[in-house]
């Protein structure tokens, strides 16, 4: 079986890795991972339980194995869980989040301080999702990428993982814009992703080590990929300031924006269009769901099964 994978973002790299692991050689037709890939800008949270609060249950079910999969590929995965907090005036939001998710336990201020000393004095309650994990997306992409073969011509079966660029073949695919900020703030130490529930400006902060943090991410129904808007940056930084005032002293290292590929139910799809197999629509769950989707694509190729995320063939 000869396979060409179009697109070297998280979807393409995971499929190529999974196929190679199963003894099926697959070459990638794309440049090395770069800011052109939407996954370059990702948060890298492997947080199926938190996402399950608002996402379809399939996201939780198929996201549970992600941390193990990434670790098995030699990608450093930090398994410190996720902490979810809300400002005192939004206490109801935390109770609601607890009610609508599982895999957590409620911590009091000493409990928070034991995990994140810099936050203990600021929050009296937090939800701790202990089984969750996170990784550094650019590092993860680079590790997978350097092991895989590349090609500059299509041969054999084509698996199209080009995200929004595949839109001419996937008419129900749309873009959901996301904007992010990377800062350096050596004054603050965080060991795990922190999510701030805020009625207007929900925020997550993912530690990247060395005092570097990624702040994300907006969700705008737009396929515009250009630079972040002032409003987005203002909101992300304001929310960060609300999380901890010391973050206002941070150095801004990077502003980023891209559009996530998504189908109307915000779940991924594997779809045959003519002779091409498409794997697309990871939405905001790239690193969380790509391993499961890659497994499904490999199953389909090896055993001709029709996996859960595969829909009807299109001409």
């Amino acid at each position: 079986m000869t396979l060409t994978i179009l697109g070297g973002g998280v979807m393409g790299l995971c499929i190529a890795t999974e196929l190679t692991r199963r003894g099926i050689p697959a070459a990638i037709l794309d440049e090395a991972p770069s800011p052109q890939a939407c996954s370059w800008w990702a948060g890298g949270m492997l947080a199926p339980y938190c996402e399950g609060e608002s996402a379809n249950e399939a996201v939780l079910r198929h996201g549970l194995g992600a941390a193990d999969w990434w670790q098995a590929q030699g990608v450093p995965v930090t398994r410190n869980g996720t902490l979810v907090v809300s400002l005192a005036r939004d206490a109801g939001a935390l109770a609601r989040f607890a009610r609508r998710s599982r895999g957590h336990r409620m911590l009091d201020a000493p409990g928070i301080a034991a995990l994140e000393p810099d936050l203990g004095a600021r929050f009296s309650r937090a939800l701790f999702f202990e089984p969750e994990a996170h990784l550094a997306p650019r590092q993860a992409l680079a590790i997978l990428s350097e092991r895989l073969g590349r090609t500059d011509t299509t041969a054999g079966t084509v698996i199209d993982c080009r995200g929004l660029s595949a839109r001419e073949a996937l008419r129900d695919l749309r873009g959901v814009r996301g904007e992010m900020v990377v800062i350096r703030c050596p004054e603050i130490t965080l060991s795990r992703p922190i999510r701030l529930l805020h009625p207007r400006m929900p925020l997550y902060v993912v530690p990247r080590g060395d005092g570097v943090f990624m702040l994300g991410a907006t969700m705008v129904e737009s396929d515009r990929r250009g630079r972040p808007t002032a409003r987005a940056v203002l909101e992300l930084l304001s929310a960060a300031f609300a999380l901890h005032p010391a973050l206002a002293e941070a150095e801004v290292l990077e502003l980023g924006a891209d559009a996530r590929p998504a189908f109307p139910d915000n779940l991924p799809r594997i779809r045959r269009v003519g002779g091409v197999i498409h794997a697309n629509g990871l939405y905001r769950h790239g690193f969380l769901l790509a391993p499961a989707v890659a497994g499904m694509v490999a199953d389909h190729l090896q055993h001709q099964t029709r996996p859960e995320f595969m829909d009807a063939d299109h001409d």
């Binding site: 608002s54 996402a55 379809n56 609508r100 749309r174 873009g175 814009r177 009625p199 705008v220 129904e221 737009s222 396929d223 515009r224 559009a259 998504a262 109307p264 139910d265 915000n266």
Partner: protein, 253 residues
């Protein structure tokens, strides 16, 4: 049946399209709600929201574009003009925000924008307060619908000033009135309809519910019940108990 600018609408429920977990959930909520009018925002998606708008258009409902997030008359007028081009309708829900925390309407900017837009042939649905004078001026400016708030946008507090809303209904018996913003529960929506309001516009109450489609159905039921109750002419309230069976004639033992 509410009539907005000569168009008769079957359902008194108008539904917003922001903040749903996915477009699929949004479509399910619309199907369960029976809503025939969808508000849609132009501003934040400017320059790339075509896919989402196509999804909204595929719902087969009438679109009411809004100027959500505009903080001045000029900005609202420009947004309305763009919305007319993008969505091909002269209906516009006019929102001019005056206060960042409460998102209260800036009634002065609203009036100014309403005058300009009405003169340009727009059919203006102004998001306003329940202030009688403001509402009178909006009608003078050429609005044929009023959309007073129930409570601040997205607050889910319900009808903060029932007296004011009742007074508005009494003052303008022939103007279509829509409670817009602040609805959190079906009982809030039913209360507005019981007062004789023509319709209710809501978004967050459905979009942010755990099961948006089920909440949309509940809202639809409540609005129908409230409307039917209004038409049935509810009994008067009294401070004294009035037994439904006569007391006189009972045996005293």
């Amino acid at each position: 049946m509410p009539v907005f600018y000569g168009t008769e609408i079957e359902s008194p429920l108008m539904l917003g399209t922001a903040g749903y977990p996915s477009p699929k959930v949004l479509a399910d909520a619309f199907a369960r709600s029976g809503a025939e009018i969808a508000t849609v925002s132009l501003r934040r998606e400017a320059g790339g929201g075509q896919d989402f708008w196509s999804l909204i258009q595929s719902l087969g409902v009438r679109l009411l574009p809004n100027t959500a997030g505009c903080h001045g008359a000029r900005e609202a007028v420009t947004t309305a003009q763009m919305a007319r081009e993008v969505f091909g309708t002269d209906w516009i829900k006019l929102e001019v925000i005056g206060h960042t925390d409460t998102l209260q309407p800036d009634v002065f900017g609203l009036l100014e924008a309403a005058r300009i837009l009405a003169a340009e042939g727009f059919k203006v649905f102004p998001y306003c307060t329940e202030d009688l004078t403001v509402c009178e001026r909006l009608l003078d400016a050429g609005c044929h619908v009023l959309m007073p708030w129930g409570a601040p946008i997205g607050s889910g507090l319900g009808l903060n000033n029932p007296h004011g809303l009742r007074a508005l209904r009494a003052a303008f018996p022939d103007v279509p009135l829509v409670v817009d913003a602040g609805i959190g529960l079906p009982s809030h929506a039913a209360a507005a309809m019981e007062m004789g309001y023509d319709a209710v516009l809501l978004n967050s109450a459905v979009a942010r519910a755990g099961d948006p489609a089920a909440m949309a159905a509940a809202m639809s039921d409540a609005i129908r019940a409230g409307r039917a109750a209004y038409l049935a002419d509810p009994m008067e309230r009294t401070d004294m108990a009035i037994p439904s069976t006569p007391v006189i004639g009972r045996a005293f033992l």
